[in-house]
Amino acid sequence: MPEQLLQQIVNGLMIGFMYSLVAIGLTLIWGVMNIVNFAHGDFLMIGMFTSFWLFTIFGLDPLFSIPICFLLLFILGIAIYRFIVSKVMKGPMLAQLVVTFGISIFLSNLAVYFWTPDFRLISTTFLQGTWDVGGINISVPKAIASIGSVITSICLFLFMKKTKTGKAILATEMNRESALLMGINTERINSLSFGIGAALVGVAGAFLSTYYYIYPQVGGLFGTIAFAVVALGGFGSIEGAFIAGILVGLAQTLGGFYFDPSYKYAIVFMIYLITIWIRPQGLLGW
């Protein structure tokens, strides 16, 4: 019994780290611009397809395609911000909500158009198999992805705290007006954060593609859960999103295991609702 419990905890942690990685990009965009990016799941999908095609055409292992995914999504993010999102920043909040829906529908169907709705899987990376650690099975690609998630989150954290640009982003997040007065080019910060947010989820896509199937609608569920994770952690809080991701992963697997698997996502959303009733600003939000 403790072995089974331990196994579920390990599994929960691994999916939780993936949620964290998907969510930190979202929370960054959210915090800086106060925009809910509903196309976030589709950025994830594009990251996965990028890694898939690099693997299929050039035989590049997903691990090596991470920088390419990062860069590509960074450019895509900035382009989408510059040409579309920035134009609604001053508009009503509802237009800001809806514009990313439009982008989301557009991107996922662009993928259908170019790559058909078929399912794909990268199956022969060198990250295959499972480790048997004292009777507990640990999937190698998931473990690597978890480590990747931790490293990426730490990098982002350090970037925000140690670099000048990072500090500027943080300042904008806290108070846009004073940041502007301090001489920070908030428009540049916006586009940079949108780019970084997209790039981070591109990295998540590359990791996820090592063990999850890839198809145009793959972003939907990850995206929805990422919203709950971000809101649970507190909008704009990177640490919050990281912790909330892990909590959601654990809740999902343990809830599914001990209660009923068909309710596992309901359990996740329940926990989220209860938390924000008690603490409307989320776990680490302000």
Binding site: L94, A95, V98, V99, F106, A228
Partner: protein, 322 residues
């Protein structure tokens, strides 16, 4: 309450007359079906608008109320042979009670937090119905075909009765929305939308008025749900409680013009035919082009017409006057 101008009355009258005569002139069933969908989604949009557009609570879980309405009346019809018209009211009441139960604890939530909470609520309801054996879980409910009549709320030989029923539902919703918008309640709603603190300072009972908005909205959505069930005759959680439906309602209201009485109807009248006809023309090729166009249009409108299409009409009117 302000007086109507002659112009307003005549435009409304003519529009109504056209809509009443429309199915007698254009008899193609498919066009009638699209019109029925326009009215139904228009009604849902109006319902969304009361809480979203006026009171500033952006709901992404409206499909839950729609589904609860559909499920309540269908369950009553199938299990207890209750007349669907009674089921219609029952569904509305159940949805409104549910809305109050969920709305009360969410009283402090604003903006994005509220939006995400409604997504969570909608998903919980869907998952719950998907596993609830009493209402046939995922298998859904098939409504038995009975003799067609107004009392049975079922018509087989023609779509006309459905057309007129949903048109009158839409009108009811519009009248309610109009009175809400132009009454004291409407001003309270808008005050709440601006700022909870300001509303409180003005002596508005924020929690209470938020609840009223949610409950009216839920009741109307549930009515549309019962209509859907009686029209399609088959419901399952995947077809009435999907997040995609909730999102579509937000799109309709926003693109038409949130916070205006007619906005959501305009939104539905534009978006639904686009979705339907692009699917017919392009969907059968299976390339996703229809949705590509749909997504592109949504992006375009929200960038260049962020106040919604209704704003365009209003602007033209203003320019003429000015």
């Amino acid at each position: 309450m302000k007086k109507f101008t002659t112009k307003q009355i005549s435009v409304t009258g003519i529009t109504l007359l056209v809509l009443l005569l429309f199915p007698l002139v254009i008899t193609q069933t498919y066009i009638i079906h699209v019109m029925i969908l326009v009215f139904m989604f228009g009604m849902l949009g109006v319902a969304w608008n009361i809480m979203g557009g006026y009171a500033g609570m952006f709901s992404f879980g409206q499909a839950a109320f729609f589904g609860i309405g559909a499920y309540t009346s269908s369950f009553l019809v199938v299990t207890f042979h209750v007349n669907p018209w009674i089921g219609l009211i029952a569904g509305g009441v159940v949805a409104a009670v549910m809305a109050a139960a969920i709305g009360y604890p969410c009283s402090n939530l604003r903006g994005h937090y509220f939006a995400i909470a409604t997504i969570a609520f909608g998903e919980i309801v869907r998952i719950f119905f998907n596993n609830w054996k009493l209402v046939n879980a995922a298998e859904g409910i098939t409504l038995p075909m009975v003799n067609e009549s107004f009392t049975n709320f079922m018509f087989h030989s023609s779509k006309l009765p459905y057309y007129y029923i949903i048109l009158s539902f839409l009108l009811i919703a519009l009248v309610i929305c109009y009175f809400v918008a132009h009454s004291k309640m409407g001003y309270y709603f808008r005050a709440i939308k601006e700022s909870h603190d300001v509303a409180r300072a003005l002596g508005v009972n924020v929690v209470w008025y938020r609840l009223i908005a949610i409950m009216i909205s839920a009741f109307l959505s549930a009515m549309a749900g019962t209509f859907y069930a009686q029209y399609i005759l088959y419901i399952d959680p995947e077809s009435v409680m999907l997040l995609a439906i909730s999102i579509q309602l937000v799109l309709i209201s926003m693109l038409g013009g949130a916070g205006t009485v007619m906005g959501p109807v305009i939104g539905a009248a534009i978006l639904i035919p686009i979705a339907e006809f692009t699917r017919i023309w392009l969907g059968h090729k299976g390339t996703g082009v229809d949705m590509l166009i749909y997504g592109f249009l949504i992006t375009l409108i929200s960038v260049y017409q962020p106040q919604g299409i209704w704003g365009l009409f209003a602007n033209i009117g203003k320019k003429k006057n000015g």
